[in-house]
Amino acid sequence: MSTASLDLTAIIVSYVRTVLIYLVPYLLTSLGVVISGRSGIYNISAEGVMLLGASVTFLSTYFSSGNIMAGILYAVFVGVLVGLAFGFLTISLKLNQFVVGTTFFVLCTGFANLLYKLLIGVTLTPPYIETLRPLTIPVLSDVPYVGDALFKHNLFVYLSFILVATSYYMLYKTYVGLNFRAVGENPKAADTLGINVTLYRYVGTIIGTILMSVSGSYLVLSTTGLYTETIVLGRGWISVGIAIFGRWHPLWALVGSALFAGVESLVYLIQSLQSVLGLRVPPESLLTLPFIATLIVLALVYKRAELPQAIGRPYDREAPEEYT
């Protein structure tokens, strides 16, 4: 009796711990999609940008003999580059954002794998890098159970929560944030008020791609320290779904990310308990759960689904009338 309950507590603690670990990539990417979308740019290339960030982080860390900081900085740099290119095509040239997004997804995926293959090649045992060390919060981590679950994580986990709060504050409580959202809701009105629509949209796009790219870094640095072609495995696309589910709101993006990290961790939990419970489910069928969950969640929220009004539409000052 007592051993069984002890096991259960251990399972819960490790489950919560896992949820927090898997929450970060969803959160960073969906925040990126949200921020970009709030300025009016619908960036669906998240999956590709994440993979590129992961590849670049792995390679630059590997070749700087384990300098994680270099890895992250290169990922940021790549994020800026991708954002600039995406912005040039969608903001300056006013091209269709879905077309550019699809193309960038393919291009970034291609470049990510190409860079890895060119610099590392095909090896029998893949090279790996040191992963991030956990950062124990002094007093709080000593609290039984809670300390293990919540306060012994790597820096990324804490930072991403701070990032949610910051982006919420910036978007909804500051003048700049108001301008920023205005550009995504009604660029014409914003332009009339003297807000630089182009500049805000570029900034939004670039912040977005930086977050996606760094989210890719986290995937490499958090658990395995390896780069594989399947390291992102749909998390980028799900994050776009989270942004829609969260009505392009940072706090709701946190809720959505927690939900999907919960589902993903559940999959791993069931897999690890399978032999104990005597279940014989093919592991691949469990892996479909996050994707099925995305479909269900998106169908459920449709009544209150809202988009920034001008999202996906390029702004043309000389266009006579907004058409829908």
């Binding site: 995926t109 069928s285 998106l298």
Partner: protein
């Protein structure tokens, strides 16, 4: 007179020539950076398809698959819908054809036809889920079709590892389908499957449908201006999801043809990078069905060339995706720049 025509032709083609050169320029830089022989690299990429009948037939086989995949994206794209779920629909089509090919027993001609039909049905059913979610719950089709891709990928593995698993192979794949469910070969050795006849017939039928029928006209009207189309009595609420289902049936046909005509079984990963190639081909063709044919052939040639290059010089196969993606970007840029000047 003819000189003016020539100048006009040059003006039209110049942006495309520049775009192709730029894309190949970047590819050359990648080859150089990777320490490969650039000149022989170009030569291989462009000519490998025509070295012998074997590689030419391989090009035709790939062309047949890629063509259907780009049509699967293109038909919904005409009504402004993004069917990124080509991959999943293709895989389910392959799964459906394999299932019928393994389970059903029928005389030779009939069996293969039911298998292909099963593939078409499976593909369209797979696409009808996002189509339903889109029309009933307004779920963005980009996200939902992608989700269906991942579900399909895992379903293929589960299916291939189940009852009909080929235990001799370490990779998830089924045992071969019965011989009655296979398409006849046009040429026995090197092999060329009759699948390509189906692809060509399909594109001909589609061209006719899109250009001359009411359905095609309404589809184009929906894509050009959904509001106006609706005002003039086009049922856009039905057409948009329907176009996704049609796309799914095309991708399903592609999967079924690959099973009955090429692989003769279901293999995990048999979709290769063709779904991405196909989608980009449709975008490169700007939704014009007549452009798909030459563009898809060109991309198939490059794909076979890059594969050959991978065998000879160990050049990463991603080069073909990057080449095509860059080509699309450069063409988009050059066209919008031209639009600016006007």
């Amino acid at each position: 007179m003819s000189k003016a025509l020539l100048v006009k032709l040059a003006k039209i083609s110049l942006p495309y020539i520049i775009s192709i050169s730029l894309a190949f320029g970047v590819a050359g830089f990648i080859l150089y950076f990777g320490g490969y022989d650039v000149v022989s690299g170009y030569q291989t990429i462009l000519t490998a398809s025509f070295w012998n009948f074997n590689s030419f037939f391989l090009t035709l086989t790939k062309f047949s698959t890629i063509l259907l995949m780009s049509l699967a994206f293109l038909v919904p794209y005409i009504s402004r819908k993004f069917n990124i779920g080509v991959e999943g629909q293709y895989l389910m089509g392959a799964l459906g054809a394999t299932l019928v090919g393994l389970v059903v027993s029928a005389p030779a001609g009939v069996h293969v036809i039911i298998s292909i039909l099963a593939g078409i049905v499976f593909g369209s059913l797979w696409a009808s889920v996002p189509a339903f979610l889109m029309s009933r719950y307004r779920v963005n089709e980009v996200i939902s079709t992608i989700m269906m891709n991942f579900i399909a990928r895992y379903s293929v593995i589960v299916f291939a590892m189940s009852l009909w698993r080929d235990v001799a192979s370490g990779h998830p794949m089924t045992i071969p389908i019965s011989a009655t469910a296979t398409l006849p070969l046009l040429n026995p050795s090197p092999p060329l499957s009759s699948a390509i006849l189906f692809s060509i017939t399909t594109i001909a039928i589609l061209y006719f449908t899109i250009t001359f029928t009411v359905f095609g006209y309404e589809l184009r009207a929906t894509g050009t201006n959904p509001r106006a189309a609706e005002v003039f009595g086009v049922n856009t609420k039905l057409l948009m999801p329907l176009s996704l289902v049609v796309g799914g049936s095309l991708a399903g046909l592609g999967g079924a043809l690959d099973v009955t005509g090429y692989y003769y079984r279901l293999i995990d990963g048999m979709q290769s990078n063709y779904p991405s190639l196909g989608i980009l081909i449709a975008l490169l063709s700007k939704g014009k069905i007549t452009f798909v044919l030459p563009v898809a052939f060109f991309i198939s040639v490059i794909d076979v060339g890059t594969n050959a290059l991978q065998r000879i010089q160990r050049v990463p196969i991603e080069l073909v995706l990057i080449l095509e993606g860059l080509l699309l970007v450069f063409i988009l840029v050059s066209e919008s720049l031209r639009w600016w000047r006007k």
